[in-house]
C-alpha cells in the first residue's frame, strides 16, 4: 500500500513512506509459456535501519547516517539550507543556475512528464518517483526557507513544510531515485528539466555537506584523481592489461597488432571507460583491430587519468566534474593530439563533450568527438571490408541516453548496424525517445546495501521489458541474440538484468558493444570475433 500521496506527506513519520512490493510493479510481457521468475526484493537489516535513514522506500543508496544529538540535527538543517542558498548564487552555480531557476519557476505541474518516466511507471506509479515530486519538494523548501515567504503567501503556494533530519535524508535518497535520463525534459512543452533538478539536489549534499554514495565519491572521483581510475587500475596495471589484449588479439585474429600507447602528435586520442579494460577488453581490442585495418593514426594514454574516460562528477558534483575534465584535456594537450574521440561510454560523452565545453578554455579546448561517427565513416565508406553474412543473428540496439537524447547522435550507429547486421530489430521506443537502461547516473556501480535490487527491479524494468519485446518473435534459446549497447555503463546494467532474470539460458540473449559486431563482420578475420559462451 502506498501511504505517500502528496508532497506534504514527506513530513510524515511513517517507515517506510512507500512500500515497494513485487506485485505492484509494472507487468512484464508473458514471454513463451515460462513466465519470468521475479526474484524477491532484499530488505534492509535491523542494524542498517538503525544506522541509516532509509524511511523513504526501504532502500538505501547513500545511507545517510543518523545524527547523534538534537544539536547535530539542527546543525545539519542549517548547513543544508546554506547549500540550497548557494545553488541560487552566480558565484557558486553559474554553470547550471539558468536552467535550474527556469525549471523551478516555469513548471505548472501539468504532469505531462509523469508517464514518460520509466522509474515512475515501472514502480507501479508510486507518487514519490513522479518526476515533478522532488522538484516540488525543493520548490517548497526554497519558498519557505530561502525566499522566506510569510504565512499568507506560503499558504497560497502550499509551501508549509517543516525541515528536519528525516525530510532532508529522504530528499537525499530521493535524488538518487532518478537516473537523470532526461526523458521528462524531452516531453515537457516548455523545456522544464526535472532531471537536472535531481542533480542539483545531489550537488547540495556533495558540495556542501560532503554526503554522496561512497562508490561515486570516495571510490569514484577521489580515487580517479589520486590513482588514475575509478576501477583502481594504476598505470603499471594498465601496461599488463594491454599486453594481455595484444596476445588475445593475436589468438583471435592471427594478427600481430600493437596497441599504441602515449604516441605523441597522432590524430586521435581514444578515451575509453576503464570498465572496458577490466570487464570488456574485447571492446578495446575491437577498436584496435578496426583502427589498425583502417590505418588510423591513434593512441591510448597511460598518463594518470588519461586511460579512464569516465567522469563521475557528471552525476553529483561540479567541482569534481571540472577537475576530471581538466585532467583529461591536459593529457591530450601533452600528447599534442589533433582531437579526442570518446569510446563507447555515454556519461563520458555528456561530461567531456557537452558539459566540459563550459569549463575548458584556451589550449585545453581541444576538439572532442564521439567515436561513433568515426566508426560509421570507416564502415559505411568501406575503409574496412565487412561481410554482413557473418552477423546473421538477431540484434537489437539500446540507445544510451547521453549519446542519443542529449547529443542527438542517433543515425551513425543505425547506419552501421544496417550495413553489418541483416537481422537488426529496433526496440520500441527508440532514438531520442529511448528508455534509460536503468543504471544511469551512477546506479550501475552503486552496490551498497539493498540498492542494486531497486536498480534491477525498478529503474531497469522498462529496459528489460523492451528487450523481451524486441525478441518476442525469436524466443528459442538456440537462436543466439545480441543486445548491442554502445556504452559501458549500460552494458553493466544490461548484464545484471540478463543474469538476474536468466535471459541467456531462457532466451539465448547476450549483450555487448557496437565495435565487437563490426569486428565480427570483418572479412579479413577468419574466426568469429564474438564468443557466445562465457
Amino acid at each position: 500500500m502506498s501511504i505517500c500521496k502528496k508532497v506534504e506527506d514527506i513530513n510524515r513519520g511513517i517507515d517506510p513512506l512507500v512500500e515497494i512490493n513485487s506485485k505492484d510493479l509494472m507487468h512484464l510481457p508473458n514471454v513463451a509459456d515460462s513466465s519470468i521468475q521475479e526474484p524477491l526484493l532484499k530488505k534492509l537489516t535491523e542494524e542498517q535501519k538503525k544506522e541509516y535513514e532509509c524511511s523513504l522506500d526501504g532502500f538505501a543508496a547513500i545511507g545517510v547516517p543518523r545524527p547523534k544529538s538534537r544539536q547535530e540535527e539542527e546543525e545539519l538543517v542549517r548547513r543544508f539550507l546554506r547549500g540550497v542558498e548557494k545553488l541560487f548564487s552566480k558565484e557558486d552555480n553559474w554553470t547550471f543556475l539558468q536552467p535550474l531557476v527556469h525549471s523551478l519557476e516555469y513548471c505548472v505541474k501539468c504532469q505531462l512528464c509523469s508517464d514518460s518516466c520509466p522509474v515512475y511507471v515501472a514502480s507501479g506509479r508510486k507518487e514519490i518517483y513522479r518526476p515533478t515530486f522532488r522538484p516540488e519538494l525543493l520548490r517548497r523548501i526554497v519558498n519557505k526557507y530561502i525566499k522566506k515567504q510569510g504565512r499568507f503567501i506560503s499558504r497560497l503556494t502550499r509551501s508549509d513544510i517543516e525541515l528536519n533530519f528525516t525530510v532532508i535524508a529522504r530528499l537525499a535518497e530521493l535524488a538518487y531515485r532518478c537516473t537523470l535520463c532526461r526523458r521528462c525534459a524531452q516531453v515537457c512543452p516548455i523545456g522544464v528539466d526535472n532531471a537536472l533538478i535531481s542533480r542539483e539536489i545531489r550537488k547540495i549534499f556533495s558540495q556542501e555537506l560532503g554526503i554522496a554514495p561512497r562508490e561515486i565519491h570516495e571510490l569514484g572521483t577521489v580515487q580517479q584523481l589520486k590513482i588514475g581510475s575509478t576501477t583502481g587500475m594504476t598505470p603499471p596495471a594498465l601496461e599488463d592489461i594491454i599486453s594481455f589484449m595484444e596476445e588475445d588479439i593475436k589468438e583471435k585474429t592471427g594478427k600481430e597488432i600493437k596497441i599504441p600507447v602515449d604516441k605523441k602528435g597522432v590524430d586521435v586520442l581514444l578515451l575509453h571507460n576503464a570498465g572496458e579494460f577490466v570487464s570488456w577488453p574485447e571492446n578495446i581490442e575491437a577498436f584496435a583491430i578496426i583502427f589498425h585495418a583502417a590505418s588510423i593514426s591513434w593512441t591510448l594514454s597511460s598518463e594518470l587519468g588519461g586511460y579512464d574516460g569516465v567522469n563521475y562528477g557528471v552525476w553529483y558534483d561540479d567541482i569534481q566534474m571540472a577537475r576530471i575534465a581538466v585532467r583529461h584535456a591536459q593529457v591530450a594537450k601533452d600528447l599534442k593530439v589533433k582531437k579526442i574521440n570518446v569510446g563507447e561510454c555515454g556519461h563520458a560523452h555528456k561530461a567531456f563533450i557537452v558539459i566540459a565545453d563550459r569549463v575548458l578554455t584556451g589550449d585545453l579546448n581541444i576538439p572532442r568527438e564521439s567515436a561513433l561517427p568515426l566508426i560509421e565513416d570507416l564502415v559505411c565508406h568501406e575503409k574496412i571490408r565487412v561481410d554482413p553474412g557473418k552477423n546473421n543473428f538477431p540484434v537489437t540496439l539500446h540507445d544510451p541516453c547521453n549519446i542519443v537524447r542529449l547529443m542527438g547522435i542517433v543515425e551513425p550507429q543505425r547506419r552501421i548496424l544496417r550495413k553489418i547486421s541483416p537481422q537488426f530489430i529496433e526496440m520500441e521506443p527508440h532514438g531520442v525517445d529511448n528508455y534509460c537502461c536503468g543504471g544511469g547516473s551512477g546506479f550501475a556501480i552503486m552496490g551498497s546495501r539493498n540498492f542494486p535490487d531497486w536498480r534491477i527491479h525498478i529503474s531497469g524494468r522498462m529496459k528489460l521489458k523492451q528487450i523481451l519485446e524486441a525478441f518476442k518473435d525469436v524466443q528459442d534459446p538456440e537462436i543466439k541474440k545480441y543486445v548491442c549497447a554502445p556504452c559501458s555503463n549500460c552494458k553493466g546494467q544490461i548484464r545484471d538484468l540478463i543474469n538476474t532474470y536468466g535471459l541467456q539460458e531462457k532466451y539465448g540473449i547476450r549483450y555487448g558493444g557496437l565495435v565487437e559486431l563490426v569486428a565480427n563482420a570483418m572479412v579479413d578475420i577468419p574466426k568469429p570475433f564474438i564468443e557466445w559462451e562465457g
Binding site: 502528496k6 554553470t95 516555469y106 505541474k109 525534459a185 523545456g191 556533495s206 594518470l304 567541482i319 581538466v326
Partner: protein
Amino acid sequence: MLGILVTYGSPSILGNVIYGLTLATGVVSFVSGLFGSIGILIKRLIDKDLRNYATPQNYFTYLLLIAVFLSGLYSWYFDPMFSVYRNFWRGLITFKPIGVESATACHILLFAFLLIYLPFTRSLHYITRLFGFLLIRWDDKPNLRGSMLEKKVEEMLNLKIGWNGPHIKPHSTWKELASEAIVQEKKQAIK
C-alpha cells in the same frame, strides 16, 4: 476615436471594419476565454494528479480569469457597439475621464487588476518560451577558441567558490580548484 463613427452602417468604411473586428475578436475572446478558464478549473479539480499539486493561488488565478471574461461578456450586453468602452480609453489617454456603466466599470477594474497580477503568475512565461525555448534546453553554441563565449567562461572560472564540502579548498576560484590536482601532482614530481 479620430472622429470616425465606429458602428455597423457607419459612413466610413474604416469605421465598419474596426467595428467588425472588435466584435469578432472581442466576442471570440470572451467566449473562448470563459470556456478555457472554467475548463482548466474543472480539470485541476477532478484530475487527482493535478489537484495534488495545485496551490490556492492556482484557483485564485482561474477564478479571477473567469470573473474578467464573464464581466466583459456582461458589459458587452449593455454596450453592444463597444462605444462607451472605446470612449473610456480615449478619455484616459486624453486626460478627460468619463463616467461608465457599473458593469463596464467592474470589467475595467478587474481587467486592470489582471494586468498587474499577471507577472506574479506563470502565464507570461509562454511569451519567453517563444524566444528562449531552444536556448534554455539546447544551448549548443560551441565554445570556440578566441570566441566571446570563451571569454565569458574564463570570467566565470575566476569567480570564487563558497561551497564548504570537505573536498573543496575554501576561498579558491573555479579555475584554481579545477587545476589544483594537476598542480599538486607536478609538485610531487619535482620533489
